[in-house]
């Protein structure tokens, strides 16, 4: 059994907390945007589409830098939030939540969008003739049928958030106990002499956490799939 140092534990716990919060906070937005993109045609849809997917193709450092200059202490949005609401993201773990969330968002939206597009819309028509208004229809037909995609999207986002490096280190730096997530800690160990053993430990932990996440999502998806396909 490998012994984890307090610093290792801090990094692991912080990573899990940041990835979980980033996933949960972005999930409602992810579902909303995915539904919008899957179901509505509106002016500027291509542009919205492009902006959502931008973090996927941009170098993460660029995304982190863009976050820094908008949400940082002196950025227009960051300054406003700090002055009026006392909300500060820069060099805080909440800032890491934002960078992880933004980086994971395209993957989440994509998975949910595909599952919504795959839903037989005639079922929603049937629900409408049975008296279901748009919201009730969405909550009782669209959402449950899209659940496998939503879980897959959330799991992808969670995994992506766990591994986030470039945007996080650029936006909120590498502060142990505050913004030093698992990949950042690992990177730090590789930069100091004699850090190899610690780096190995964190590597192993990363593998275990990733495997566990995959396993959980697979089991969840299977259970739900069986329910949806109506097989007992």
């Amino acid at each position: 059994m490998i012994e984890l140092s307090p610093q290792d534990w801090t990094a692991v716990a912080l990573s899990l907390r940041i990835a979980t919060v980033a996933t949960l906070v972005s999930l409602p937005f992810g579902i909303a945007i995915a539904t919008l993109l899957a179901r509505r045609n509106f002016w500027g849809k291509t542009l919205v589409d492009a902006i959502i997917y931008l973090p996927l193709v941009l170098p993460p450092v660029v995304t982190g830098y863009l976050l820094l200059i908008t949400l940082g202490r002196h950025g227009p949005v960051g300054a406003f939030l700090a002055d009026h609401f006392g909300i500060v993201f820069a060099f805080r773990w909440t800032g890491a939540v934002i960078s992880c969330g933004v980086m994971a968002f395209p993957l989440m939206v994509r998975a949910i969008r595909l599952s919504i597009e795959a839903i037989d819309r005639r079922l929603e028509d049937a629900a409408a003739t049975l008296g279901a208004g748009p919201f009730w229809n969405f909550a009782t037909v669209t959402l449950p049928l899209a659940l496998p995609g939503i879980i897959a999207g959330a799991m992808l986002a969670f995994a992506r958030a766990l591994g986030e490096f470039g945007a996080t280190i650029t936006f909120v730096s590498n502060i142990p106990g505050e913004t030093q997530t698992l990949p950042l800690a690992l990177y730090t160990f590789t930069q100091v002499p004699g850090g190899d053993a610690a780096a190995w430990r964190l590597t192993l932990i990363s593998v275990v956490v990733a495997m566990a996440a995959l396993l959980v999502s697979e089991l969840l998806a299977r259970g739900i799939d069986r329910r949806i396909r109506g097989m007992s």
């Binding site: 049937a126 409408a128 229809n137 037909v141 049928l145 109506g230 097989m231």
Partner: protein
């Protein structure tokens, strides 16, 4: 009343349908596939929006392009039974049934379940049901939403003959027991004749004719649309007496009385009979020394223009006030030998009738 007057472009197909139908009994929208029947029903349900027009049911305007009225489908209270059941796969049978509500004061959950024989299916998953069971559940689901009108889009089309025979009695029961008006889309004339009171013929996105089933199926000019399905006539009768000594039931129509083997139905029951043209024999004089008892005097009202060996004659065997049309199919040779022409007096002898109503369960063919 159901009043429909809509125009809608669907690709390179233009729907321009206008008809009125009574909001009682069954109104059949009949036509070939691709004629626009389903498009009309979708517009009625509010699932598609006509480019122009008006839809009104029982003085309630559901759609009016000029006044900018377009009631959303969830607020139209029209039950829709689709060709492909469209049950929710993520709910049980019970969940599906309860989705739209638990019925109205007249017809609650337990009554619907009993009516459609769904007791044993309630806990089942939709994926485990047979085609006929799925369609029964979808009928129940629509009924429990307490609709003012049921729309049925070829509910039997995806079922095999045995399943059709399973569902048809349930639909007939809705019509007779529940008095829920039904708009029934079909391209099968045998279903239409069994179920419908009013017929709307749809062709190329337009209404070719609308009227009673009896009237439209006996019009020769509509033959290309109604099809030559078992050419014959549909006659409305009322059960007026029982002849106990011979075990016969007397069915009256304007100007005549048919005697058929005993039917266990109360006096006054309205019955619809179908008489195939090939089961009608013509005579110039009232027959004597013949076993056929059902003979009716009438005149030749129309002769189908045919070149083949067979011709169809439309006879009027009713009264001047209430004509009753009866089709007879005879050979062209017989037509010539008997020197029959328009207005010729004839006697029509009927050998067999099919009972189409009140319900296909009691239906069947009666040898006379």
């Amino acid at each position: 009343m159901i009043e429909v007057d809509i125009e809608q472009r669907l690709g390179d197909f233009t729907l321009a349908a206008k008809f009125t139908a009574p909001a009682t009994g069954v109104t059949a929208l009949f036509g070939r596939s691709g004629a626009g029947k389903t498009s009309i029903v979708n517009a009625l349900a509010g699932l598609t929006r006509p480019t122009r027009g008006r839809i009104e049911i029982d003085d309630e305007v559901l759609f009016d392009s000029e006044r900018g009225i377009d009631r959303p489908p969830n607020r139209r209270r029209l039950g829709y039974i689709f060709q492909e059941h469209r049950l929710f796969p993520h709910y049980s049978v019970k969940g599906n049934l309860r989705y739209g509500g638990s019925g109205g004061p007249a017809l609650g959950f337990d009554e619907v379940v009993a009516l459609l024989g769904l007791e044993a299916l309630l806990a089942r998953r939709v994926g485990d049901l047979s085609g006929g069971e799925k369609q029964r559940v979808s009928i129940g689901r629509a009924l429990l939403a307490n609709p003012r009108l049921l729309l049925m889009d070829e509910p039997l089309a995806s079922l095999d003959a045995a399943r059709k025979a399973e569902i048809l009695p349930f639909i007939a029961r809705l019509r007779d027991a529940l008095k829920i008006p039904i708009i029934y889309v079909s391209h099968a004339m045998e279903e239409v004749v069994q179920l419908a009171d009013t017929l709307v013929l749809i062709s190329d996105g337009k209404v070719a004719a609308a009227g009673s089933v009896e009237e439209l199926t006996s019009r020769i000019d509509l033959r290309p649309l109604t099809g030559r399905y078992e050419a014959g006539s549909v006659i409305r009768t009322v059960l007026r007496g029982q002849d106990k000594s011979f075990g016969l039931t007397e069915l009256d129509f304007p100007g005549g009385r048919l005697r058929v083997p005993h039917l266990d139905l109360p006096l006054g029951t309205a019955l619809r009979l179908r008489i195939h043209a090939r089961d009608v024999v013509l005579a110039l004089a009232p027959p004597t020394g013949l076993s056929i008892r059902n003979s009716f005097a009438g005149i030749v009202a129309e002769i189908s223009p045919e070149d083949g060996p067979l011709v169809d004659l439309r006879l009027d065997i009713g009264t001047p006030a209430e004509p009753v049309m009866l089709w007879a199919r005879i050979t062209r040779r017989a037509l010539a030998d008997l020197k029959l022409g328009l207005g010729s007096p004839v006697h029509a002898l009927v050998k067999t009738v099919s009972l189409e109503r009140p319900s296909p369960v009691r239906g069947g063919t009666l040898e006379l």
